[in-house]
Symmetry: C2
Subunit: 466 residues, 2 copies
């Protein structure tokens, strides 16, 4: 791997000055959306529109070429048609640009072999100057910690800043994950659309993000790799340093075809991928929902020491659905130690189910009882992780606030994955506060909570295997 | 099955006057929440609080006993402690009440055999007068079409009116499904918490809802049944009349224990249930999310004639993830007929993936091209159902509105399950309008869309098998 190129990735994600080559005010041009993105993202540095036909664009002074700008430019975002790109690359090299986001399509992915040839010659140019290139054929990327929305989707700027970085082979999937993150207020660090991977592939991005202090978890969306071993090697060498979770599609033959066509590589055999990723210490998700749930859990929860789960539920039904998923995913329903069981027996009436899974329903009016149960279970040496499941009912409105202080104080000695669900607007702020204070992670259903807990444990076993 | 009891269910769900026996203004009492529910639900009939200690409750004239009220009472909601319930039942019989919602707990589910005995004697009383009883140990029920919120959760009244009725063995699961329905604006008809099933079990409710014109789909959440054959018989006799979809938990032994404790019956063997339900023409869901997704699809989409799916995607990635789920769920990725393929080849440039799954990305600016593709596929005899997947990007903001008229006009000659996702607030209203006009159903991820489509097809095969 080219270490100069890796170093330049730092400037690419944290530039002082960003040039938009092909900037426009015409809403039919991607160049206008990119300009809007940088502005909506509140980029703190200089935005430099490049367009030979305009003096200024969206109120910002434009230059006819990047070479006409007197000060340094670290990042160039290119949205011009493919045929202009080689010339622009040469200008970028001359200008000593540190990184390029190449949004333009029409290279390796087109039927015409000229596309692939053009991409090869661009790669040679970029590599000769150690310039990392995100793309071509990408929506771009966003670095929320640097207020840098270098994409054609201004609305990415609505995301909350956080610790999850997504490296994605699909723009559509990046957008989907981002929208889910918005709805669940999950904190993101970077979202990177690899596109056709001129010289920055999963391997380079994983290597870079492993050393990025603003990234706590790396999420991957993979369709197919030209050389899977490079990713496996990079991840394997860094096994356990920082969690990686991957979602891979392209199992179906038809899917292979789709992958071939739009990212320029075969999707490959699913099981081989899965085995190789496990060897490299990469956790595995099997849907977009699971990818985000598990990335959030890995970002916000400690890893469980074993697979023994306590299910503390405000109502029996959600506890049962979580039980089913736990057992099918290889988790064990913990048998509480005698001290814990004694405390629970004291706190709950006999009509409640007091063994694991615990039905805390009868204690709804008594948040100190619930806190007492959670505390006992948190300290029980026979329990490795806690699923906390409570459905709102008018009578238990205060249940979350009643145990918040305690939960925050606990700071997850063990992972706490919760499903605290209520009609929109009732518990959202309280639950968000619990997440922000590191007390738990909340997901939308008990089944997803159980799956995320199992994912934490599987990741743990994956990084421990040699 | 007792036909008088079934007839009385109609009055239970559509009463003129509802008595709340144990009504209260004290927010620590469930009787206050039930009063709030009826008021927040805008019940159009008379609400009669019963409490010997109060002249009026929440501004409504109260009576000391139901027998003191001069006019008829169709529905009695009971929230008094268990020991008072037999006496109240006798009063209800005297008053010629048509139905009872018994929220009170402390019967069959408690350790003390006196609980089960009390429940038996109550059942004898209720059966002698053909009074159907929802409960005991339930949150109650809601009939949105009659503005009747007979539960202890006033916020159920926030639900949208629609065609899905949920019969649930768990209050917690009922609340979870209701909150999901709120977030996705899914229309509900009735939500019924069966509780410990004094004399109204799944079989009675399914029989009743089959003839209920306001119910288009019946969703079941099952943990365990005393006599599974009764449900299977009732459903089997009505196979295909109205879709039924079930989610059953309690696979795990621990889950069995939970089930035993809180609903008074064993959960039973999962595979036997699954087979029996299939025989009876009941569709099967394996999570709370799938239960609601599939119920919505069954309520709003025609059934596919076969398993050949067209995947029309705005970006390749979501199409691939849908492909994977389709193939693992027994669906086929359709091969388009030559006319369809010709039309798509004309409408999309060569750089797009034009065979199924179709990447419509290059047509984002051109909604007539997208409409043309959907139209060709809708008319293609080699296609049985359509997955329409589009992720918002700033540049395709008008994509949904651009094809709305066409989609509404089409009226789903074939099922259209969509995943049209955007940041909150951007496409929500347009997508909701498409759902209301019968053009499609929208779910949150491509994988869930594919699973719902497969569920429609599996249901079709289930009701066709003899």
């Amino acid at each position: 791997m080219n270490s100069h190129l890796l170093q330049n990735l730092k400037s690419l994600f944290n530039p002082r000055t960003v040039a938009v080559i092909g900037a426009s005010e015409n809403p039919d041009k991607l160049g206008s959306h990119v300009m809007k993105s940088l502005k909506l993202g509140n980029f703190g540095g200089t935005i430099l529109p490049i367009n030979p036909g305009s003096e200024s664009i969206m109120g910002l002074k434009a230059a006819p070429s990047i070479l006409d700008y007197p000060s340094p430019v670290e990042l160039a975002i290119i949205v011009l048609p493919a045929k202009f790109v080689p010339g622009i690359f040469e200008e970028c090299i001359k200008k000593n640009v540190k990184g390029i986001v190449l949004i333009t399509a029409g290279f390796k992915e087109i039927d015409d072999p000229a596309g692939a040839q053009l991409q090869k010659s661009l790669a040679r140019l970029a590599n000769s100057a150690n310039i990392p290139v995100i793309g071509p054929n990408t929506f771009g990327m966003i670095n929320l910690h640097h207020h840098l929305n270098a994409s054609f989707t201004p609305e990415f700027s609505w995301l909350q800043k956080g610790g999850i970085s997504l490296i994605s082979q699909s723009g559509g999937m990046s957008h989907l994950v981002a929208f889910m993150a918005m709805r669940q207020v999950a904190g993101m660090s970077k979202i990177i659309g690899l596109g056709n991977r001129l010289n920055v592939d999963f391997a380079e991005m994983v290597a870079y993000l492993m050393d990025d202090p603003e990234t706590h978890v790396i999420a991957l969306y993979i369709e197919g790799l030209d050389d899977p071993r490079r990713l496996i090697e990079v991840a394997g060498e860094r096994r356990g340093m920082k969690p990686i979770v991957a979602y891979k599609t392209g199992r179906a033959m038809t899917g292979d075809r789709a992958s071939l066509s739009h990212t320029g590589s075969m999707a490959g055999n699913h099981d081989i991928y899965k085995g190789a990723m496990k060897q490299a210490g990469i956790a595995y998700a099997d849907s977009a929902e699971s990818l985000l749930d598990l990335a959030r859990a890995l970002a916000m929860c400690p890893l469980p020491g074993g697979n023994r789960v306590a299910i503390l539920s405000g109502q029996a039904g959600p506890g049962m659905s979580a039980c089913d998923v736990c057992e099918s995913e290889g988790m064990k329903i913990a048998t509480f130690g005698p001290t814990t069981q004694g405390i629970i027996n004291d706190l709950l009436p006999p009509l409640a189910l007091r063994t694991n899974p615990v039905d805390m329903g009868p204690a709804w009016y008594n948040s100190s009882a619930i806190a007492g149960i959670v505390k006992a279970v948190m300290e029980d040496e026979f329990v490795d992780g806690i699923l906390l499941l409570m459905m709102f009912a008018s009578a238990n409105r205060e249940a979350v606030s009643g145990i918040s202080d305690f939960l925050i104080q606990c700071q997850q000695k063990k992972p706490v994955v919760a499903c605290l669900e209520a009609p929109p607007g009732i518990w959202d702020d309280q639950v968000l506060e619990l997440e922000k204070r590191g007390a738990l992670i909340n997901v939308r259903t008990p089944e997803r909570a159980a799956r995320a807990m199992a994912g934490l444990w599987k990741y743990k076993t994956t990084i421990e295997e040699v």
